[in-house]
Symmetry: C2
């Protein structure tokens, strides 16, 4: 909905951390302003309510995932190597934008809470549609790999949900304060992609 101007980006970064650490319900515009060392007025100037702020954090979180994965779609190699590059880019983006992506996950759960105005509900539907588009990128690539006879005999839809789950669950166990070197992130991302692509079972 809104443009990500520098003034807004500063607010969104602070808000993402507050939402991640305290959850949606315990966070307020006041809490976000304090985190920034700013007045409440400065936040309200850009975001009329906490829900609007949450939705923009969610929207930026999705933008960051698309920005990471889109270039990988043009990686060199066969359809499976491209899928691997997309998965790795996704994993690295989850590590790099830990706070934003934690909020993206909260967004799904929030959907269940139900206490939204009709306009906010509509915005949430749009965000969920974006999530479906993101999943569709991986489904398309997995289907391309299938056409090239590079894919195992799996149900593409369930396999893609499973692989995205394997990558996205890292939000739960990844600790940015411990694992924040670029080298360590590479290692974790590659290990996850390897497990998902090649499986746990030894290959003959």
């Amino acid at each position: 909905m809104s443009e990500f101007t520098p003034a807004r980006l500063e607010i969104l970064h602070a808000a993402a951390e507050c939402f991640m650490e305290q959850g949606f319900h315990a966070t307020s515009i006041d809490v976000v302003a304090r985190r920034m060392g700013a007045t409440k007025g400065r936040v309200y100037h850009h975001y009329p309510s906490k829900v609007d702020l949450f939705f923009d954090v969610h929207r930026l979180g999705m933008d960051l995932l698309f920005s990471a994965v889109e270039p990988a779609r043009h990686a060199p190699g066969d359809a499976l190597e491209v899928l691997a590059a997309m998965m790795k880019a996704h994993a690295l983006a989850m590590f790099e934008h830990h706070a934003f992506e934690s909020v993206v996950v909260q967004g799904v759960q929030l959907h269940r809470f139900g206490a939204l105005t009709p306009r906010q509900h509509q915005e949430l539907e749009a965000l969920i549609a974006t999530r479906d588009q993101f999943e569709a990128l991986f489904k398309e690539q997995a289907s391309a790999a299938r056409r090239a006879k590079l894919l195992a005999n799996v149900d593409v839809s369930i396999a893609v949900k499973t692989l995205l789950g394997g990558l996205q669950w890292s939000l739960i166990w990844y600790r940015p304060e411990i694992d924040d070197s670029a080298k360590n992130r590479e290692r974790l991302a590659e290990a996850m992609v390897r497990t998902l692509l090649l499986g746990l079972a030894a290959r003959a």
Copy 2:
């Protein structure tokens, strides 16, 4: 902490649904009592606070996972087939106890919120330790598969986190109201396990 008496189980089932649908913050003892068509007093008689109620839902959620996976540890077959049986049992338990397992996931997030008394913090630590023990079951089995030369060349710790993520993420996309036939659950569980064990890439 508490025994799961029939009276408590009734409360815990209602509470799991409320926590799942509305989240921790929007749920109250009053909401849970209304869901049961009971008085608040009946709930307070067993649970002095919402946090205590939440922790017991979490504890039962973990118990249900252990009860599902423990028998699978003695499934017939080699170490990898046993791992597959454990994964399938885990997946089916996530479907069957959807509300409780959603709360187990919220529990992790809650850990970040911080607003707990020292006693409650201690209880949360105990619950988290139980989660680690659960993960350890899968690590042990994967290590047994490695010793039997049945495992791919993966980092066991990251591979287990990835496989548990692939299974547990089904909480996000599984819709009990659509997919609730036993046959459909079997199909979903087997497709997830197959993807994780054999990988997305075709085997030569």
